[in-house]
């Protein structure tokens, strides 16, 4: 399936792009992260959380084809 991935803050500095669509054939978040780590090697030095459909998810959450976001530490306010 095709999924949309959004990058923010210092993660977008690593990917050099704010959003992209990728073809993904795996099942859960950890498999998606494998794909992304191999595409963007410097991701492994970065601290981030993953949101699916605007909710934070863990590595074993199933990818349902909605929007995924890679979120570095929040620093609002």
């Amino acid at each position: 399936m095709e999924i949309s991935i959004k990058y923010f803050g210092q993660i977008a500095e690593v990917t050099q792009i704010n959003e992209e669509y990728i073809e993904f054939s795996g099942h859960d978040v950890s498999e998606l992260l494998c794909v992304l780590h191999s595409k963007y090697e410097n991701l492994k030095h970065k601290d981030f959380q993953v949101a699916q459909n605007q909710e934070l998810v863990s590595e074993d959450t199933k990818i349902t084809g909605e929007t995924i976001a890679l979120l570095p530490p929040f620093s609002g306010g």
Binding site: K6, F8, G9, Q10, A51, Q54, A69, L71, P72, P73, F74, S75, G76, G77
Partner: protein
């Protein structure tokens, strides 16, 4: 009671003192209010390795952030006896000394406003996907980390 529908919390650039003053003035018709409590976040000119922060540039995952602000708002109204609540956060560049966060709660009685305001500010810091880039005077930058 305030309407509780989701709002856009974000403003482009700094939040002005006039905006805050006007917001206070608008509450003077609500004569059941006895106490207001206001939190303002201001950008600090921190010095890090001899370089001074000149501004913070804010970005956010807008849709998720507005949804989180809405959840925080609902949850504060549920926990505390509030008459109204307003939250504004800057996006884009906010210079040192300027205001980037404005949280305003009002209640008939004072005890509740202190607890409510602290709850809301801490929840914003912890749960809302906003990202601050500290821009130094020499135009280099580092990513802000909340403590």
């Amino acid at each position: 009671m305030e309407p509780k529908k989701p709002k856009n919390v974000f403003q482009q650039g700094a939040i002005s003192s006039e905006f805050i003053g006007n917001s206070i003035a608008k509450h003077q018709t609500k004569t059941s209010i006895g106490a207001h409590n206001i939190f303002l976040g201001q950008v600090r000119a921190d010095v890090i390795d001899n370089k001074t922060v000149a501004a913070i540039e804010y970005t956010a995952y807008d849709d998720m952030a507005n949804a989180k602000f809405h959840e925080i708002r609902e949850s504060a109204f549920e926990k505390f006896d509030l008459t109204c609540m307003h939250i504004y956060h800057s996006l884009g560049t906010v210079k040192a000394g300027e205001i980037c966060l404005f949280v305003f709660v009002s209640s008939p009685r004072r005890k509740v406003v202190f607890k409510a305001l602290e709850f809301i500010v801490e929840a914003i810091k912890a749960d809302v996907p906003v990202f601050g880039k500290e821009i130094f005077e020499d135009e280099t930058h580092q990513w802000k980390v909340n403590s």
